[in-house]
Amino acid sequence: MSLLIQDLKKSYVEPDGSELPILNIERFEIPSAEQVVLVGSSGGGKTTLLNVISGITSPDEGIVAIDNHNIANMSEVVRDRFRAEKIGYVFQTFNLLPAFDALENVLLGMSFSGKGNDRKRAAELLDRVGLSHRLNHRPGQLSVGEQQRVAVARALANQPSLLLADEPTANVDVANQDTILGLIRDACTENNVSLLLVTHSQDVASQFDRVETLSDFNKPQKQEGETE
């Protein structure tokens, strides 16, 4: 099992001090190498779920196990290292570092995992996403589609077992959407990586065998005594 979520609860404290439940998931799982699309309404907790899975945000309770390691129990330091080694993250807005060129952005992903700087692998990954001729270009010198391809290469740099993609095609023009999506899916297939991809796009969702709607398994409830 690549991802197992069990009895997960996450809520935020609102400015008035009251709790706002966001996630309440009894069970959710992704077997190894499976590719899953997650759809849901805006503000429904999709990004929070990705942040909890990646360990960026801690859950209030429950189990978030990746490759049978419960990251909810890990200390922050261990969780950071685990995230670097086991989880790839593709953001909607790419989040490349502007001072670093394409190759360095990919290397940066490796730097925090303790695996060192494998320039050859970084160059191969960029070659795989069709950017072998753009290795030393900075994000500002790349098109939007190219930037997202760098982000994909960076997410795969540490050979993760789970790739999280948050609306990876939302900011990409239509012509590039299929290319990016194809790259992510092919790369995951080739590297035996599980994929959880969040999208609003029905076109994107329709390309996957497993499509999950967050509201179907996430039932956040206000605590008793609180008004709706």
């Binding site: 990004t47 929070t48 990705l50 942040n51 990646s54 960026i56 945000t57 922050e76 330091v77 950071d80 290292r81 995230r83 670097a84 080694e85 993250y89 953001f91 807005t93 989040n95 490349l96 570092l97 502007p98 001072a99 670093f100 360095e104 290397l107 940066l108 992903g109 730097s111 925090f112 995992s113 700087n117 960076r154 540490n158």
Partner: protein, 458 residues
């Protein structure tokens, strides 16, 4: 990519702001290095120039003034001593060497101080283990002179040049007599470089250098009351006339005729000669013995009301600690403040950039960077900026000394060695790193506390 490489990238990303902040550190360090090197040279010059002598004997008055005037040729002479007093000191069995010094006149060209002295002045080390190097020879004849390196360079004088002296005192008249340069000193980095050394015998023969009979007698009465206490001016004149005639007994007509035409051919009687100071080296097998003897000798001389003997090292040590040392402290404090202000500008620069860089920090955290790692990156940035600025300042400081050294040497006689490092400079770099760590701490903590989910819009 290691932390330094990541920090360097961020610095290059904001190259203008980074360069300016590093430059401000560089300028602070430049000033500090320059102050340190120049102070080191001044201190060395002060402490070593007087190192060759155990005591300076002079008229009663300010001890420091006696040292400054005799060794550094600044300030006015206090008063003069009778030449016989010099003879007396020289003959003391505890004294190894006594060198008479007569000061007050200056060169007509350039206004360099003239020291009337004897050739053995140059046999004594001018500093610890440093002997005079002379091109040409020391003064052998009474109208011979040796000049310092700066005098030679500035006045374009060399061996064979005839020089005239301006009489010290109120009238400032130019003496008719000329001295001939017979030797040029190699640079010493001491006041000797800016001095002209005239043979004492010639110095005394110059018009106005003989003490008026009345004044000479008054001084002799003060120093030797038993011998001169009841003597009148007429009696002294008689005594000197008789002594002069006695000194010419046995001379042939030719010998006498050879100097009869010169106004000052007859040597000046000792009673009418004066010395400004006497440099004294004590006898002794060990430094301890010499020190003990000089202390005792000094105490004996200073018991009377006429003269004093001072240890130049003590006086210079006092000067360095209480005046020059304080100036140095003030300069160092000022330059340290400049460096601290530069450090604050680094803080402001990095802190201001944090608002723009929160997202970068959050991205790194999302990629697996630990809180300590992003804190270290910001700290490394501060340290890199400070260290780079410090190194540039180091090079600039010594570069400035290198550029300024010929100018300073020609103006003041101080020899600045750009490659000379002061031990305190070794503290500079660690201090800069400490400062950088301090100013990088708050921005580093901002990075440490960055909320990844919020910053990335979760």
């Amino acid at each position: 990519m290691n932390l330094l490489a990541i920090a360097s990238k961020s610095i290059r990303q904001r190259s203008l702001a980074s360069s300016l902040t590093a430059l401000s550190v560089a300028l602070g360090v430049t000033l500090m290095v320059t102050v340190l090197v120049i102070h080191g040279v001044v201190q060395e010059m002060f402490s070593q120039s007087s190192a060759g002598y155990d005591l300076i004997v002079g008229a009663k008055g300010s001890k420091l003034q006696l040292v400054l005037n005799t060794i550094y040729r600044v300030s006015q002479p206090i008063e003069n001593l009778p030449y016989q007093y010099y003879e007396e000191v020289k003959e003391d069995k505890r004294v190894k060497l006594a060198i008479p010094m007569a000061l007050g006149d200056t060169t007509e060209e350039g206004g360099f101080p003239i020291v009337g002295t004897l050739p053995h002045y140059f046999a004594q080390s001018y500093s610890y283990g440093k002997k005079f190097r002379i091109r040409g020879q020391v003064m052998q004849g009474k109208w011979h002179a040796v000049i310092g390196a700066s005098v030679a360079r500035q006045n374009n004088w060399d061996i064979g040049t005839k020089i005239k002296l301006v009489h010290g005192g109120m009238d400032d008249h130019v003496h008719d007599e000329e001295f001939e340069v017979v030797g040029v000193l190699a640079p010493t980095g001491t006041p000797n470089d800016k001095t002209v050394f005239a043979h004492l015998s010639g110095f005394y023969l110059m018009d106005g250098h003989d003490k008026p009979m009345g004044e000479a007698l008054d001084r002799l009465k003060l120093f030797y009351p038993e011998e001169y206490g009841n003597m009148t001016v007429q009696q002294l004149e008689e005594k000197l006339k008789m002594e002069d005639e006695a000194s010419h007994e046995g001379e042939t007509e030719e010998e006498h005729a050879a100097h009869a035409g010169h106004a000052h051919a007859h040597s000046l009687p000792d009673e009418l000669k004066e010395v400004t100071a006497i440099l004294v080296v004590m006898k002794g097998d060990t430094i301890g013995q010499q020190t003990l003897r000089s202390a005792k000798f000094s105490a004996e001389l200073s018991e009377g009301v006429k003269a004093q003997a001072v240890n130049p090292a003590y006086e210079i040590s006092w000067l360095m600690q209480n005046i020059v040392g304080n100036v140095r402290t003030i300069m160092i404090v000022l330059t340290a403040m400049i460096i601290v202000v530069s450090g604050i500008s680094i803080f402001v620069s990095i802190y201001n950039s944090m608002a723009d860089r929160r997202k970068e920090i959050a991205i790194m955290r999302a990629l697996g960077a630990r809180r300590q790692t992003v804190f270290s990156i910001i700290l490394a940035e501060s340290i890199v900026l400070c260290t780079l600025g410090g190194l540039v300042g180091f090079v600039l400081g010594h570069g400035m000394v290198f550029i300024a050294s010929p100018i300073v040497e020609s103006q003041s006689g101080f020899i600045l060695d750009p490659m000379k490092f002061e031990p305190i400079e070794l503290v500079l770099l660690p201090s800069l790193i400490a400062l950088a760590s301090l100013v990088g701490f708050i921005p580093g903590m901002t990075a440490y506390r960055t909320d990844v989910a919020k910053t990335l819009g979760g």
